[in-house]
C-alpha cells in the first residue's frame, strides 16, 4: 500500500490536472486557507460589488472547494475530536489538524467530497461546464487514491 496523501497533495494534484502553471500559487493560498478554513458565504456582501465573477483561475477555487469538501466529509471525526471542548479556537484547531493529516477516506467520504464540490459550485453560480471539469478532476484524483489504498 502506497503512502497516503494529505489534502494539500490532493489539491496540488487536482490543480496540476486543471492548470499546471497555477501550482506555484498554491503554498501561499493554502497557508491562508488552513488558518481560516471556514466556508465563505456566497450570499450578497453588503459592501462588496455584488458580482460573482466568472474567473479563469483555478488555484483559489480548488483550495477552497476541496478543503471545504474534505472538512465536510470528515465532519464526524472533527466533532468527535472537539467533543467536550468549547470555543471556536478548538474547532478551528481540529479543522486545521484534519486538513494537514494524511487522508484516510472511505468510499462514502469520497462520494461526499464529490457531492460537496458540486454543491459549492452551484452556490457560487459557477458555470456547469467548469463545475463538471472540477468535479471530474477531483473524482479522478479520489479514484486514484482509492486504487492506491487498495481493497
Amino acid at each position: 500500500m502506497s503512502e497516503q496523501r494529505t489534502t494539500y497533495e490532493l489539491i496540488e494534484a487536482v490543480v496540476a490536472r486543471l492548470k499546471p502553471d497555477e501550482v506555484e500559487l498554491l503554498p501561499d493560498l493554502w497557508a491562508a486557507y488552513v488558518d481560516h478554513p471556514d466556508p465563505e458565504h456566497a450570499g450578497e456582501r453588503l459592501l462588496g460589488s455584488g458580482i460573482l465573477a466568472e474567473v479563469a483561475g483555478w488555484a483559489p477555487i480548488v483550495v477552497s472547494f476541496v478543503g471545504g469538501a474534505v472538512l465536510e466529509a470528515l465532519k464526524e471525526e472533527i466533532t468527535e475530536r472537539t467533543r467536550g471542548v468549547f470555543g471556536w479556537r478548538a474547532r478551528r484547531k481540529a479543522k486545521r489538524q484534519a486538513l494537514t493529516e494524511p487522508l484516510t477516506l472511505n468510499d462514502e467520504q469520497r462520494r461526499m467530497i464529490r457531492a460537496a464540490i458540486l454543491s459549492r459550485a452551484r452556490a457560487i453560480k459557477m458555470s456547469p461546464e467548469r463545475a463538471q471539469l472540477l468535479s471530474d478532476a477531483v473524482a479522478g484524483e479520489l479514484q486514484r487514491e482509492s486504487e492506491s489504498q487498495g481493497p
Binding site: A42, E44, S49, A53, E54, V55, P60
Partner: protein, 647 residues
Amino acid sequence: MSAPPDPFALPPPSTSRLRLLFLTVGAGAFFAGYWFLVLARDNWGAANRACAQLPEVADFLDCSTRILVLQALVPLAGPALVAMLVLLAQVAAPSVITLRYGAKRLEPWPVAFQQTVEAADLRSPPVLMLSDRGMLPWMFTYGRRPHHRIMLARSIRSYAKTDPSLVTATLAHELGHLRNRDVDRTYLGLFAVTGFALLAAVPMVWSATTTLDLAPALAVAWRTAVICLLVTTTFTAVIRTREHDADLRAGQFRREDILGLLSTGRQEQRRLLRLHPRLDERLKALRDPGRLLRPSIAEAVTAGIAAGVIVTELGVILHTVLPVPPLVAYWAAGFVVAMPVTGVAGLGVWRGALVRPFAVGRALAAGFAFGAGLLVGAVLAPRTSVQWSRWLAGAPDQAAVIGPGQIPPGTAIWMAAAILLLTTAVFGWLALAAIAWLPRSGPRAWRYAAPFTAVLFGVVMGMWFVAARLAASERWSPQSVAALVITPQVAVVLSALTVIALLALWPLARRAPFYAVAATVIAAALLPSYLALSSNPIQVTATVRQAALPDSTQAGAICLGLYISGVGVYGNPGDHGARQRLGRLLRAADDTLLNEIGEMFLRSASTGSQDLAALAWTAFVRRCDHLNRYHDKAVSDLPPPFPTEGW
C-alpha cells in the same frame, strides 16, 4: 443623436436617498425619545401635579409652559443618542474591520493595480489592504476620508495573475465609490440604521409590549414596524443606487473591464432584501445613464412619508418652544424638512431634466406621489396619529390626532385635494424652472433654484400641517380652516412667492411658450384666490353646534362642555360678548384658578384685548386638562378632539 447626459452633473441619486434615510431615522428616533422620556414616564405626573396646585394663573401658566417646553426638547435625546452611536462606530469602524480581517498593507502593488488607481485620478489614493482570508475575488472599501482603504481577499494576487481584467474591473468599481465620495456616507447610513434599530425601534416595541395592553402595544408596534420598513427600504435603495453610481464612475476610466465584469459575472445570492441592483439593470444603466436620472415615483412617495412624519412631530415641538404664532412655527418646521426634501425629490426632477426628452408628466406624477406620501406620513406620525390619553392616563393631548376619523369628511377631502394639488404644482414649477434654466446656465442653476424650492416646500408643508392640526382639533369647516391659515398677511407672502416663481420662469417665453402661458394662467388664478380666502370671515360658531358652556358652577361640568364645544365657546374674533359670558361663568366656578381665568376673560372683553383673551383661553384649556388628569374633577373619559391652545 444627442450626447448622453453626464450622470454626475448634479449630485447623484445615492446622495439624495441617504438624506432621506437620515430624515427617516431622525423622525423615528424622535418619537422613541418622546416615548421613553415623556409618555412612558407618566407625562411627568409629579411636576404637572405641582403646577396644578399653584394658586395664581400666571404661576400656573409659567409652570405648565416650562414643562411643555422641556417635554418638547427632551425627545431630541433620541436622535442625539443615535447620532452619538453613529459617530463612535464611524470612528472605530476602520480599526475594527482591519482587525476582523487580519489585514496588512499590500506591498508592493501589482502593476495592474498601480495603473488602475492612477487611472481613477483620486486626490488621495487609497491604501490597499490584504486580508488574511478569502478565496473568492472580493474587495470592499472602508476607512474615513481622506484615509480610505480597500480590503482585498487573500487570493486576489493569484487572480491578478490569472484574471487581470476581472481584478482591475472590481478594483475600478471600488475606486468608483471613492471618486463618488460615498464610502463615509454609506457607513454613516449603515450605522444610523443599526443605531435606530438598537436604540429606538427594538427597545420601544419591547417597552410597549411589556408595559401596555394589547391595543396600545399594537399601535406602537405597527407604527414602529412601518418606520423600520421605511428605514430599511431607503437604506437598501441607497446601497443599490451607489452601486450604479460606482459602475458609471468606473466606466469613465475602465469601461471595457467593467462591461466585461458585468456581462460575464453572476449575481450574488440574494438574502432577505436585494442589496445590489440586478446585473442586467447595471449593464443597461452603464450603457444608458439617463435611465438613472428619471424622477422616481417611489422615491417621491418615500420622501413624502418621511417628511410627513417629521413635520408633524417637529411642528408640535416648535409650536411649543418658539414664542411665535403657530403658523410661523409650522413654517419653520416645514422649512427645516424642506431643505433635505428639496435635495431628494426636487433634485430628482432636475436630474430628470438632464435627459432628453424630459418627461414633464413624470415630474408632475412625482409631485402627486410626494403629496400622497405627506398624507400617509401625517396619519402615520406616532405622536399625533393615536390618542395616547385613551390608554395612558397621563398622556398629553396637545398634539391633536390627525386621523381620518377626527377631521370632518368634507374638510378632509378638501385638505387632501389641496396638498396633492400644491405639491404637484411645486414639482411642476421645478420642472419648468429646469427647462428654462438648464440650457441657459447648466446644472449650476440648481444652486439658485434649490433655496427657492425649499421655501416653496416649507410654506406649503407648514401651512397644510397647521391646517390639518386645526381641522383635527376643532372640526372646522374647510372655509374656516382656510380663513384661519390664510390671513391677509399670509396672502401677501403667498402672492409674493407666486409672482417670484412666475418671474423666474421668464426664459420659458422663448423656449417653451406653451408652458409659459400655462404657468401665467395658473398664477393669474392663484393670486385672486389668496385675496378671496384671506377676506373670508372666520365662521367659528357656524361650524360648532353647541357653542355655550353648561350653566354650572362645577369645574368638571364646565370642562366637559369645553371639550364638547371646543373653540366655539370662545366665539368669533371680536365677539367680546362671548368672552364676557365665558368670564362670568368661570368666575362662579368651584375652582380658584378658573375664577381668576374668568376675570381675565372679563378684562379682555372690557378692554377689547385679543392678547389677553388668547392668554386666558390657553390658561382655560390647560387648567381643564390638568383638572382632568391630576385632580379627577373633570370628565374621566374625554371625547376627542382637544381644543387648540393659542388660537
